[in-house]
Symmetry: C2
Subunit: 423 residues, 2 copies
């Protein structure tokens, strides 16, 4: 079922480096044309794509993948249409390349500013859902970067087909076809080879489970933009609107549970705990959520719903499941200290009507996204208005939070002089 | 002469992490007060500082350091005054911390923007000139970052004295004294230990020779912002003002030769080569510059000055000396291809009166700084208006070119909602 041919990844990386320069110089209309053509092809070739997808689905069934995993693989009509729409949305985004900012005149008359430019060649290593092929490549093309794609073996035929439409789109737009390359093998050594292509590849972006990311960070000779855990907190302040807090907690935890921006720990100020906890526990439990609670929560939230005792490791666990740990805190300060100690620095929410508390939380909490009165589930490139995302960075350097077009670029200094000499 | 005591670098890093949070929250006036107090101390304690500096100078003489090296170590009155003035200039810079940008309203009414925040804890590893202690710490304090300093053993006593004034400045301003720590030993193992402090240190910035940087990159468990070679090019276009080109070449090469932003290769368009080369070779030679030239240059630039044949490796060499390699090119395209093949992506200059050529060079050349009609020697944080610099990054990720206050910060997303739920 799998292609385990040896592929010359180094040669691919060298071709990508060659393609990166003309792509970096391409004007927006050409890049947008490539994305529009790919979107059209996805719709026009839907039956062929679904035939390729069927090969992956059959292999998945034979390999005993879970029904949930098989469902994630499936490319039905609406998912293909959504992929095409995603490409059109990226085409509609403003092109970040070439923007000149901060151009100021120095005392000697020289103008100094910065120009936004592509990173160059990006390696994307991902698992599971085939739409990542289209999303990631679209963001790379639009931001002027060549990309080398390495999808999971379970979506091999689907990914390869989608990549072929992207390449056809580049060709139709007169852009270098090597700007999108798919590693056409499921041989695991290919990933290791890609991670050693540091002369030609500027950055590696992994998308997938912790094990994949840990392996890539350990092995890579190339800088990695990564996402680790999503241990997100929702803190219900003493000045919270409790109806809003109920809705935000339910949404943050249960709107979708297997994702990095789901709330994993609820912190409740002691002044509202007696009123808030029984209601939130009742509603969460009714929605099918398991509750792991601190002793104070147990004392205050008794009811017909089951409460488990939180163990110390619960505060440091990303459940990715319908499980929530709950703790009562004495103050905003204690809530922030808990977050400082246990957060993975992904996304934290405060629910409050108090302006000073909101501003303090925004300023002092050191996470990629800090929110006032909004669901943690909004921590996402599309929801933030980036159009799409390459993933969410929990790193501090280069880009933090959802990685969109700007995160795939850098800035060079430009100087416009008329013969200035240094004294 | 040296202190080789074992120092608990991990404990220092943990204290720095503790100090980072209050420093990140400190308002600008407190941080500026700390810098002003340090500047005052440098001037008031000049005799004591020079006494400490004398201990380093004596050791340097005993160890047989070159007169040039010994001169770089010396803290005479004017250098101490310049250090104090540097601190005051950093104090005068705008505080980047807390700035909110790109705050936009999403269709659901939620406001999404970004807030600039410090990186956290920065490790600075440097060699030679003691003023780096003051410059680096000042930029870290102003940008809200705790810093661990590790200077070269040859400046041990000078660095330690300067660090003590910085710490006194923090104390006087009511800021945590552990925000500036100096690794008080010349034991080489301390560097290795610092590079393994990844739980507490966010970034390492090395300043020094290639060997130091290579060792740090190879050993570090912490992200490194680094500067490798400075193989900078000045290209004299067919449309250049040749008087300006002469002055810019002389300045770029000879204003100071042992620095990363000195021009190492001169490229000359063939249309102006016959007129330009004899004049520039005569002037460079008169200024004491050795010339390593391509065959065409040799044919066109005959004169009483010596011309050596450039070997292939000359095009890839950072001389850091009064040596210039010279090549004639057939076109702007060929000049840019030479730069693409041989540049270290630090700084490149075009000299031209042609607008289209200037714009093409600016857009297409992929280096940290790209200049039109200005000396390569301007590629420097102070000259670019950043007030000072932590070094010049030849990396592409996070920060490119001179690293000032903004390069020592990152941005987190902030969301201001009124109860928005994800659908």
């Amino acid at each position: 079922m799998e292609r385990t041919d040896t592929v010359d990844v180094r040669a691919m990386a060298q071709r990508a480096r060659q393609a990166a320069q003309p792509l970096a110089m391409a004007d927006s209309s050409r890049k947008n044309n490539a994305l529009q053509t790919t979107a059209n092809l996805l719709l026009a070739q839907m039956p062929q794509l679904q035939q390729e997808n069927e090969r992956d689905l059959q292999a998945a069934q034979q390999n005993g993948l879970s029904p949930a995993m098989i469902d994630r693989l499936r490319l039905n009509d609406s998912r293909i249409a959504a992929m095409a729409e995603g490409l059109r949305q990226v085409a509609a985004l403003e092109d970040p390349v070439g923007e000149i900012t901060h151009l100021k005149i120095r005392p000697n008359g020289m103008r100094v500013g910065q120009m936004r430019v592509p990173l160059g060649v990006i390696g994307v290593i991902y698992e599971s859902r085939p739409n990542v092929t289209a999303d990631a490549a679209a963001l790379c093309i639009k931001s002027g970067n060549a990309v080398i794609l390495r999808g999971g073996s379970e979506a091999y035929y689907s990914n390869r087909a989608i990549a072929s439409y992207l390449i056809a789109g580049l060709q139709a737009a007169g852009l270098p076809v090597d700007a999108v390359q798919y590693i056409d093998t499921t041989d695991r050594n290919a990933v290791g080879e890609l991670l050693r292509c540091d002369p030609w590849v500027d950055v590696i972006i992994p998308r997938g489970g912790k094990d994949l990311i840990a392996r890539i960070v350990a092995e890579s000779h190339i800088p990695v933009i990564k996402h680790l855990d999503g241990i997100c907190h929702t803190y219900v302040d003493c000045d919270a609107d409790l109806e809003m807090a109920l809705a935000l907690t339910l949404n943050g935890k249960m709107q979708r549970v297997g994702v990095c921006n789901a709330t994993e720990t609820l912190l409740v100020h002691q002044a509202v705990a007696a009123e808030f906890l029984p209601r939130v526990c009742q509603q969460l439990s009714a929605a099918g959520c398991e509750l792991r609670v601190c002793p104070q929560t147990r004392a205050l939230a008794q009811g017909p719903w089951p409460l488990l005792d939180a163990r110390p490791e619960d505060w440091d666990t990303e459940y990715l499941d319908a499980i929530l740990s709950i703790r009562v805190v004495a103050s905003l300060t204690e809530a922030m200290a808990h977050i400082e100690a246990h957060s993975s620095r992904h996304t934290e929410v405060i629910v409050t009507r108090n302006h000073a508390s909101a501003m303090r939380f925004l300023r002092e909490v050191d996470s990629a996204a800090v929110m006032v009165n909004a669901s943690s589930r909004f921590s996402d490139g599309f929801e933030f208005g980036l159009g799409a995302e390459m993933g969410i960075s929990t790193d501090k350097l280069h880009v933090r939070g959802p990685v969109g077009l700007e995160g795939l670029t850098t800035q060079k200094y430009i100087v416009l002089g008329d013969g200035q000499l240094r004294q």
